[in-house]
Symmetry: none
Subunit: 133 residues, 2 copies
Amino acid sequence: MFTVDPKDPTPLYAQLERAIRTAIATGKLEPGTRLPTVRQLAVDLHVNANTVARVYAALERTDVVETQRGVGTFVRTTPSPAAVTANRERELERAISRFIPEVSALGFSLSDVITYLQRRIKQEKEVHADHKR
Amino acid sequence: MFTVDPKDPTPLYAQLERAIRTAIATGKLEPGTRLPTVRQLAVDLHVNANTVARVYAALERTDVVETQRGVGTFVRTTPSPAAVTANRERELERAISRFIPEVSALGFSLSDVITYLQRRIKQEKEVHADHKR
DNA sequence: ACCATTGTACTATTGTTATAGTACAATGGT
DNA sequence: ACCATTGTACTATAACAATAGTACAATGGT
């Protein structure tokens, strides 16, 4: 379902949190979907249960998922209220401003990046189409 | 010269090593080029000198740079063009993977982001036009 | 009412990351 | 010969990451 790489120096909890957020952001996980249990995901990823629990707790705190004891953890239907603030756009500008030098250091132009992002969107749609079959 | 982000959970040494390897791989740093001194780079990046030294040592071990005591650290090899493009694309994917959850946390879709990036491209062109005057 | 399942909350331990500080070793310029 | 500069090699310390293990709390199905 998700993957983490123990050889990557990035902390496991950070890799997993990023993976889940991305899956939700790109629509791979639709609102209402139930995530694997803490213990099950720990087994699948060969990771400690505490690490998974920590990630779920972080996602819960930021309103990305909703957890019900004894039931499970679910993708939230609505984007977090915290995200819907007045300075959203300013934050986006900041995020982009940090992102651009990063990719331009790799020798990519903004047009290149747009092409890649559009490819991602296409991949999303294909996944959706698969689900409908 | 390089950048590291202390807010990124990725270890500083890993960020820096990746940045330097990428700079070399993309030709931003040609063979023979001298890297900043351990102490200077530490000051520039607001990072401990030990951390920089550790990175230089790692690059030395893998024959990416050559160090001469009292002189400096120099870029050694240029990888094959195939390796360059492979690394470039991999790093771009990484950068995008870090970027997506960041902007989606702000409630923006990939399409929104593309719109903003296209706006940036327009702004760039305007700046270019200004320079020509 | 029972109980398996789920998330949560601890303790304890080990290894990693980053820091500050100090000292030494080799080189090149003066 | 001197000495500033450079990389290297420690020590010590603090914070963080990941693990194992145990126990508890809430839920839903039987």
